[in-house]
Amino acid sequence: MKWDEFFVTGDPLIYGADVSILLTMVGILFYLTKYNKWKWLWDEWLTTVDHKKLGIMYIVSAVLMLFRGGVDALLMRTQLAVPDAKFLDSQHYNEIFTTHGTIMIIFMAMPFLIGLINVVVPLQIGARDVAYPYLNAVSFWTFFIGAMLFNISFVIGGSPAAGWTSYMPLASNELSPGPGQNYYLLGLQIAGIGTLLTGINFLVTILKMRAPGMTLFRMPMFTWSSLVTMVIIIFAFPILTVALALMTFDRLFGSHFFTLQGEGMDMLWANLFWLWGHPEVYIVILPAFGMFSEIISTFSRKTLFGYKAMIWSMLLIAGYSFLVWVHHFFTMGSGAAVNSVFSITTMAIGIPTGVKIFNWLFTMYRGKIQFTTPMLWSIGFIVNFVIGGVTGVMLAMAAADYQYHNTYFLVSHFHYVLIAGTVFACFAGLIYWYPKMFGYKLNERIGKWVFWIFTIGFNVCFMPQYFLGLDGMPRRVYTYSEESGWGPLNMVSTIGGFMMGIAFLVLVYNMYYSFRYAKRETTGDAWDGRTLEWSTPSAMPPFYNFAKIPEVTGLDHFWRQKQAGKVEKLTAKDIKPIHMPSNSGVPFIMASFFFVAGFGMVFDWMWMAIIGLIGVFGTLFYRSFEYDDGYYVSVEEVIETEKISK
């Protein structure tokens, strides 16, 4: 390994990144030291097992990743704005769309949703924490370390450049030499472990930790959607784990799963990738559906329409999600029978999705609709997502897909579903539950500006791409000629992209503005909500969530109690000592060893990989011998926290 292969050199953008990373790090270290925050950081954050704090850390990381992925996007859009642009060269462009796609889906959308699930679901089901709080910390830290490992590829060793789909044999040693592709493999692998653990953790949490009286069919829709998502995660992520491992073997240990030599089969990678990849896109849309259900019901001041149908349609989507993966490679020549079957199964997903759309609309019907920002995002979702959805159905028609495949028509489809679905939901959910996390609302007026700028920018950016696709513009080209005639629409698209960037900046400003000026909430019920998370007396629930575990008598229990004027007041005699899990530094340390192992593998330094793995197993065994039964919060402390007068 030569130094010029270790540090990425020769590009002002990268030097800029080097410098800014260095400055940020120095800045953070300086701040922590100067204000004596090291202990605070360790005690309050690095070792926490509190689902709310882990959730917030997930969300903060996700917003950072949205920024990173967004900068990538804007760089791409800049390059594509005019024909024959020289802003980025081919290799650079390839790296950027690869990291853009990977980061947005794996390190932005998933953690954003998982973060919100972390914060909200235990509260919604009236639990004090998740089933395995320690494991939850392991999940977060492995995700975080995976993301960091992936991100340093930008300055050390070079980024992957084979697309987020990393098709073989392009991604093999012979055609993509160097550490770039290894970063992809190891970063995703490590983060994937965390995701799988999250899946198990929350499935058990939702099944077993519900407050008394909350039967399955009394669970809030966001909790339901999380449950279904977790099932998909549990069965889809192992497929990714294997696929990544096999490619890692091909690259590092000379096996021939997908290679050109040894009769490896490139199609097998595509097959395995999409066996995971398609369920993955439903993993990032179902929690979004759940959030919209909550928000639309809350701000229509009305029960969700067709509660049971909402659940069954979701279960159907989850089942179907494992039966459609081939629609990503209709053009591979598997024959008419295969393509017909998968065309039909794919189109069939439109049916339960449509049911959901109409149920949302009829939740608003005969309601009393309040146009808060979360509600605006939700209505915006319905209007824009259907465009992505119906074009998805167009793609599902295999014979027509031969023409759409690999074009901007497809690019536009998935941005319409991913942004108008997932990203809108992340924004809506963030704003909706912001007071739960931080004790004050984001400013509504600025928030509406963000909504309008973003939504208009979004359409300006991606609507033209449908037409570019129909005009034959392929995806993943770094430039195009003047004669192609694609220039004007691309320019429009770029303008839209920058509008989204501006909206993002305004959102960040809103966070700052509201932090400074927003009125602090005095109750736990900022929006006149319906579900248990709003029933805590303080705006931000204490670390044990509920001084007394609520008893649930029906759907929208809290709302009905409020309607009946029967909200129980907590009294001192209700309070018993509360058992809570202890903090632990082991997850963080274990994840750090994962980093060492991953970094070693990326550069094929096996000694380092082995040290890292020994560390990982060491922490695992250490934990096995640790019998930590947590601790009890005394009645006095609870009374004090809850400010109950005796």
Binding site: L207, F235, G333, S334, A336
Partner: protein, 131 residues
């Protein structure tokens, strides 16, 4: 249904029966596979049938898949549902992959055609007729 400790005070009949059955099934499968003249299709059907039987045996006799805590019967439904869904996914993955990666390619995948002069492969076409 919850298993109770009471049932466990006696001789472990269930385990023994499970063990003997698994040995018998294993040997029988081996015999069918290697020492009978059945067609390949039948052999495959029989040995996979046995494998599934044996897996079920392990799950029921040794792993107590239907067992749970006394407090809720949701748990055993979840355990069984989980295994059944896993089986569904497993079947989709295995059969789906094989189907998708061999169907349609039959007419053009060179791995199936008789050897040509310059073809490096050394296998003959009978070996993977399903391809």
């Amino acid at each position: 249904m919850a298993k109770t400790t009471a049932e466990h005070h006696g001789f472990p009949w269930k385990h023994l029966i499970g063990f003997v059955l698994s040995i018998v099934l294993t040997l029988f499968a081996l015999w069918v596979a290697l020492y009978t003249d059945l067609s390949v299709t039948w052999i495959l059907i029989i040995i996979f049938g046995f494998a599934i039987l044996q897996a079920a045996l392990q799950l029921l006799m040794f792993m107590h898949v239907t067992e749970n805590s006394t407090s809720s019967n949701l748990t055993s439904r979840v355990q069984i549902g989980n295994i059944l869904f896993a089986a569904f996914v497993a079947i989709v993955i295995v059969i789906g992959s094989v189907w998708v990666l061999t169907a349609g390619h039959a007419k053009h995948d060179k791995h199936d055609e008789p050897k040509t002069e310059n073809h490096g492969g050394s296998h003959d076409s009978e070996e993977h007729g399903s391809h």
